[in-house]
Amino acid sequence: MLRAAAIAERAGVPSVSIVTTPFREQAAVVAKGVGMPALPIAEYPGVPMTDGPETVRAKVERLIDAIVDGLARPVETALTRAVEPAARDVVFRGTLDQVQEFFYARLWTDGLPVIPPTIPRVERFLEFADRSPAEVIGTLSPENRAATVWSIAVNGVMAGCRPEYMPLLIAVVEAIAEPEFRVQDAGSTPGWEPLIIVSGAVAKALDFNRGQGVMRVGRQANTSLGRFLRLYLRNVAGLRIPPGAGDKGSIAATFNVALAEDEDAAAEIGWTTFGQDQGFAKDDGVVTVQSVVSSSPPIYTAGTRALDHVQVLADVFGRACAYWSFTGMKYARWQPLLVIGPSIARVIAADGWTKDDVRAYLHENVTIPAREVERYAWHLGSTAFSLKALAESGALPPEYAGSGDPDRPVRVFPRAAWIGIVVAGDPGRNQSKGYVNNHIQGGRVSKRLALRL
């Protein structure tokens, strides 16, 4: 919203942006990131979604002076850049405890102790990079900082990674720097969290957990890689919860450990790996990053036929996704992820089903009443949401416009191909779990590793 105003300003058209009180501090981060810290703002007090029509009217009347002021009063802009440390500048000398306090006070940690990023430690990471430390992988908003190889190494050190993880760290940052990942929206109120998925032989070589407890902290590779990404979003993208700003996740969640597929199990049953599903060769080392906004309960399924399992997966994974499906319908992109336990995948595959068959079943059999989709969208704040309008615009297939009956069922998963499937977890139990993606925010992006092990 502020970015649109900045585009207008660059085109010579003055702007004012209406920002609600709870978004003021995030707006300041965005304005600074677009190089216009004085971008005019008219503050709507409070939360419009809990205001009735009369309250909205009264508040807008009180906004008019600020709107006029923003559009008509000349604004002086300081065109000087703030002086910041260079990469190799030592910013502090102290004991371990003193380093923790210094970093914590400046909002440079995630609240957990960090490994002190000394130059020798950073250099050990760079030995695994084959890239210039000054190379810029991309720029990360809202704070709009250059994601240098050096800064990746520094945050990798701090997160407790091993130097040999460096190619994965670079690939993760390459993924989140792609426009389709929309890192600038990683501080949105749903509080979505990136999930890294590691594919290829590298997962075994670097001792990623792929089996029981795969999504639990406790294995260094999975845990530190996940922590690195949250730390990097904080320090380079500028996404900080209070007393910082930029991250408006209302309740949010903590970082995800990196997920690695049990590729031996997938190969044994003749299924493609997740990396192959993303278009890579089976032996390629690949990292994929996508958003996760919530998860399903653990899904237990039993039986000797594929249908015994996929019917329950459709019920439980489908219900977990149904509430949030309006976001995928609105933005015409949504990539939920289903992690299927190896013992379940084995039964499904033995019955002749491929991953595509599972996806197709979910697409065809999981529905939600249209009325509920529109109601959930309105409550979030999408006050102009209309399935009919989305279908007419081509964003959704024509079937979503349907008969106009508000109780008509519509598909929860608009496109079967959007559903990701990973085989992982406890081989000794019959459990799966689903992860709900946050539409175009944190869209699934994969990068092949430039790996030197």
Binding site: A4, A11, V16, V68
Partner: protein
């Protein structure tokens, strides 16, 4: 000698990265909105369909001849590819003769 004196001392570097934000001047303002054309940029969130008509009415009462290019004409700003928006929005504002824009609602 205290415990702290015997502990190793670490020389640490900055965990942030260089800013890519280029300070940019805002557009020049006209002190009077009378007769001006104001574009509405809406992200289709948070009751803009209630808020924009109220703003239109209030500004029209205060500034004779002010006109509006409504949000439906300019299209949603939410979820758009930023490069695509940057490539198309300036021409759209020129096409409709916008002298100023109001962007709403959120951050």
């Amino acid at each position: 000698m205290t415990t702290a004196d015997r502990e190793p001392v670490y020389e640490v570097v900055w965990p942030l990265a260089p800013s890519a934000a280029a300070p940019t001047a805002l557009a020049s303002r006209s002190p009077d909105l009378a007769g001006k054309t104001i574009g509405e940029l809406w992200d289709y969130l948070f009751k803009g369909e209630e808020i924009f008509p109220l703003i239109r009415r209030a500004l029209a009462q205060r500034y004779p001849g002010v006109r509006f290019v409504d949000y439906e004409t300019l299209g949603s700003t939410h979820g758009r590819d930023e490069a695509e928006l940057a490539a198309t929005l300036p021409a759209l504002l020129r096409k409709h003769g916008c002298d100023a824009v109001i962007s709403a609602v959120g951050a």
